[in-house]
């Protein structure tokens, strides 16, 4: 089968023309042959009858010459190959022989009847050559006409085909350009007609025009997006550089603080101490008291600097996670705090604690702060009770450290974890206000959280989680703890 529409159309019109001509030609030739044969048959009968009538006297009077004369009249028809008259059951009476072209023929016997008596038979042989010559000629004409009309049909069809196939071919080319090169600027030449093809071409062009507009929009959008991305990247780079600079400054600052801020404090404390040591006898009580205040101030500031430096170091430090048993850590902490517990009545209630993923060194700092706080704020109690335990909340352990100390008012609970925030007077409980801020920072670095519950003069309970922030905050009652 042909592959282009043009070829298909040409082929189809040639086929239709040929079939039409073949059918018409066949019908015509068929009818011609039929009617020709019928006319031959009629003609032969007429001639046979004429011969039979003329032959009667010849047969009655036994005159073959006359019969021959009658037969010789047949020479007018050159299609008669031969004719003969014969008596019934006897040999030939008279005969005539014309020219025999040697092709197909028809033969006919006609009785010669006179007064009810059959006198003989007329025998005629008729050549069909003329008929078949005619048929051959007609067939040749039909073939010539067929070829010519196919050519004419093709030529005539070509014009119509062009008006169809050319726009279709252009559409196909344009579609190829669009799909292969993403070239939406191509347009198909309008056909100028209002038929379906014209509509198709116009619609296709319109579609391309719209795609062009969209394309331009998308392109503009992309450019804007790229510009924004670039700007954003620049901003990120700039911010990162700024942040790095700030970090460096901060590091230089902490380094300097750790070297330079403690030295003057040591001098203040040192010379105050020397003054007390070497001029003790000469100093009035009040002067010694003041010197004591000076030294306390210097040492307090020293602690503050140390705590702040620890907090700053924590900010830079990476959390090194491993699975660790919290019970072991708590045991280590209580052992190291043993010296502060000397001379005190402390009841330790330490439950078995779970194994969790954490940085053990940092979690030790958490427990050290929470437990030493519990010890500090239970100092006024004759018998201090400190619980360490864990409860489960949504599959995550919540660790708590609870004491029966002086507690605090929940009014100030939000201030607990701020740096330098203190809820007690320095003369009652020493401290720098950095410990719980440090604890909170460590827990945030573990993706955990901390909160507290307390009642003034009844005690406090600090809860914390690691690796999860619970939606609701569970509490431990006095009984369950």
């Amino acid at each position: 089968m042909p592959s282009t529409i043009q070829a298909k159309l040409t082929w189809t019109s040639a086929m239709i023309t040929s079939i039409a001509l073949l059918v018409a030609g066949s019908a015509f030739v068929g009818y011609y042959v039929y009617s020709y044969r019928a006319s031959i048959a009629r003609n032969l009968i007429v001639q046979a009858n004429t011969i039979a009538l003329n032959a009667v006297p010849a047969l009655r009077f036994d005159d073959p010459d006359s019969a021959r004369e009658t037969l010789s009249a047949l020479s007018a028809d050159r299609n008669i190959i031969s004719a003969a008259i014969s008596r019934p059951g006897g040999g030939p009476f008279a005969s005539y022989t014309g020219t025999d072209p040697g092709g197909r023929r028809v033969e006919m016997n006609h009785p010669i009847v006179s007064e009810g008596e059959q006198l003989g038979t007329v025998h005629l042989a008729y050549s069909l050559d003329e008929l078949y010559n005619d048929v051959a000629r007609y067939a040749l004409i039909a073939v010539v006409v067929l070829v010519l009309s196919v050519l004419v049909a093709m030529a005539a069809g070509r014009g119509i085909q062009r008006s169809i196939t050319r726009p279709v071919a252009r559409l196909a080319d344009a579609a190829k350009a669009v799909s292969q090169q993403q070239n939406y600027a191509v347009r198909v030449e309008p056909t100028g007609s209002n038929d379906e093809l014209g509509l198709l071409v116009d619609t296709f062009n319109e579609m391309l025009a719209r795609i062009c507009v969209r394309e331009a929009d998308v392109e503009a959008g992309n450019q804007r997006y790229e510009r924004l991305t670039e700007e954003l990247e620049q901003r990120v780079t700039q911010r990162t550089a700024e942040l790095e600079a700030t970090n460096k400054e901060l590091e230089a600052f902490t380094y300097s603080v750790s070297h330079d801020l403690r030295a003057p404090l040591r001098r203040i404390d040192g010379f105050a101490k020397l003054l007390v040591d070497e001029y003790n006898a000469e100093l009035p009580d009040e002067a010694r008291h003041y010197l004591g205040r000076v030294r306390d101030g210097a040492r307090q500031m020293g602690l503050l600097v140390d705590d702040l430096l620890n907090l700053a170091r924590l900010g830079r430090q990476d959390v090194k996670l491993q699975v660790a048993g919290l019970s072991t850590i708590v045991q280590r902490v209580t052992t190291s705090l043993q010296r502060d517990a000397e001379g005190r009545d402390i009841e330790w209630q330490i439950q078995p604690l779970p194994f969790v993923e954490c940085d053990p060194a940092l979690i030790e700092v958490v427990f050290t702060n929470l437990i030493s706080n519990a010890m500090k704020y239970t100092r006024p109690r004759a018998r201090a009770v400190i619980h360490v335990g864990s409860i489960e909340q949504n599959g995550h352990p919540v660790i708590y450290v609870r004491d029966n100390g002086v507690g605090f008012s929940m009014k100030y609970a939000d201030k607990l974890f701020g740096v330098f925030q203190r809820l007690h007077r320095a003369e009652d409980f020493e401290g720098t206000g950095v410990g719980l801020a440090t604890v909170q920072r460590i827990l945030h670095k573990h993706a955990g959280t901390i909160w507290a519950e307390a009642e003034l003069d009844k005690g406090a309970c600090f809860y914390f989680t690691l690796g999860a922030v619970p939606a609701t905050r569970p509490t431990v009652s006095e009984q369950s703890a």
Binding site: H259, D260, A263, R266, A298
Partner: protein
Amino acid sequence: MTNGNIEILLVEDNVDDVELAVRALRREKLANDITVARDGEEALDVIFCRGAHAGRSFQHPPRVVLLDLKLPKVQGLDVLKAIKSDPRTRAIPVVIMTSSREERDLVDSYKLGVNAYVQKPVDFEKFRSMVKDLGLFWVVINQAPPPRAFEPNEGQ
């Protein structure tokens, strides 16, 4: 200028800190001869017997160097590096005695081969007891390196 034996070389730029340290050391009567260098360059002059200390001999190295990190001219870590990279001085015990305990100072000091690293406490009593412990250990308890410890290794 010292020509005799130095027991303790104190490298400290702040005059107050020098006074407090020297008082603390004198009080314990541990060291008779305390030499003070006020910056890194002076410390190197003393140790390498040059400049104002050209008359000194490598035969009499200090029993211990108490070295601050933040110093004018030549930084403490550079002094330490100079001492520990010269075979004539490498065996001299060096103790960093400074205000900070920044991790990077500790790392750098130990990488350069420091013998000890202590942080000066703010509390003067604690400082005094620390200085006493240091003097007692390095001057009295510790066995000083013998002269052969200052000879270059064979083949070097």
